[in-house]
């Protein structure tokens, strides 16, 4: 199993450009999440999905959109990138929703995004 994979690994954008980050998991997990990691702030939840065709906002959703058209994929989109979105983005997946307090989230390798 590859686990959770993310593409691309690195990307540099200019302000105003758009892009999509792809997350894929082969563990048949129902739930998927997008986080951003910034120095001194830990990881913050952007959006999450509790199943195919469903998405919900997390802690810092502004400026991002997501889609979950297939169970194994979770896409994060930036329609008009801003320098404040320079960050490392991590995707994660889990068997059950965050409300199941015993579950563990499995993380992808991350995407380092720089917006100039």
């Amino acid at each position: 199993n590859a686990g959770v994979t993310q593409t691309p690994k690195f990307r540099v954008l200019k302000t105003g450009q758009s892009m999509t980050l792809l997350c894929a998991q082969d563990m048949n997990h129902e739930y998927m999440y997008w986080y951003r990691q910034d120095p001194g702030m830990g990881l913050r939840l952007i959006h999450y999905s509790v199943g195919e065709g469903t998405t919900a906002k997390g802690e810092v959703p502004d400026g991002y959109n997501v889609s979950r058209l297939k169970k194994q994929n979770f896409l994060l989109g930036l329609e008009s990138a801003a320098p404040s979105q320079t960050s490392v983005y991590f995707c994660a997946s889990s068997y059950s929703p965050m409300r199941d307090l015993t579950d563990t989230q499995y993380f992808g390798p991350g995407t380092r995004l720089t917006v100039l």
Binding site: G42, L43, F90, P97, T104
Partner: protein, 116 residues
């Protein structure tokens, strides 16, 4: 608002020294507690987790953590660190929020550097 606080941002130790990384959370309800590790250039991996039972939890690579409910703490310990333990360590709390399911909240992270 719920939060997780890690006391040390950067810890530098020599090999064989003992390690203790502090983690406190501010949530009075039911919680699960996690420690994740991120080795340089890699994704987050689960070190250990606590959800019930013995408050002293043992994880991989000789790490352990103790849940002290009265202190809202979940400190990570290792008796003797190795150079290969150089990484960033994140404490996380999964807190049940009424009518919204759980939410994984991360601390700011502690960077551990072990000198050979």
């Amino acid at each position: 608002a719920q939060s997780v606080s890690q006391h040390n941002h950067h810890v530098i130790l020599s090999e064989a020294a003992s390690l203790e990384l502090g983690c406190n959370y501010s949530y009075g309800g039911t919680v699960n507690l996690f420690w994740y590790v991120q080795y340089p250039g890699q994704h987050l991996q689960l070190l250990l987790k606590y959800f019930s039972g013995d408050p002293l939890v043992k994880g991989i690579k000789g790490f352990e953590a103790e849940f002290i409910k009265s202190k809202f703490s979940f400190n990570l310990r290792k008796p003797s660190v190795q150079w290969s333990d150089t990484a960033e360590y994140f404490c996380a709390v999964n807190a049940r929020i009424y009518n919204q399911g759980g939410k994984l909240i991360f601390g700011q992270g502690t960077e551990l550097s072990v000198k050979p």
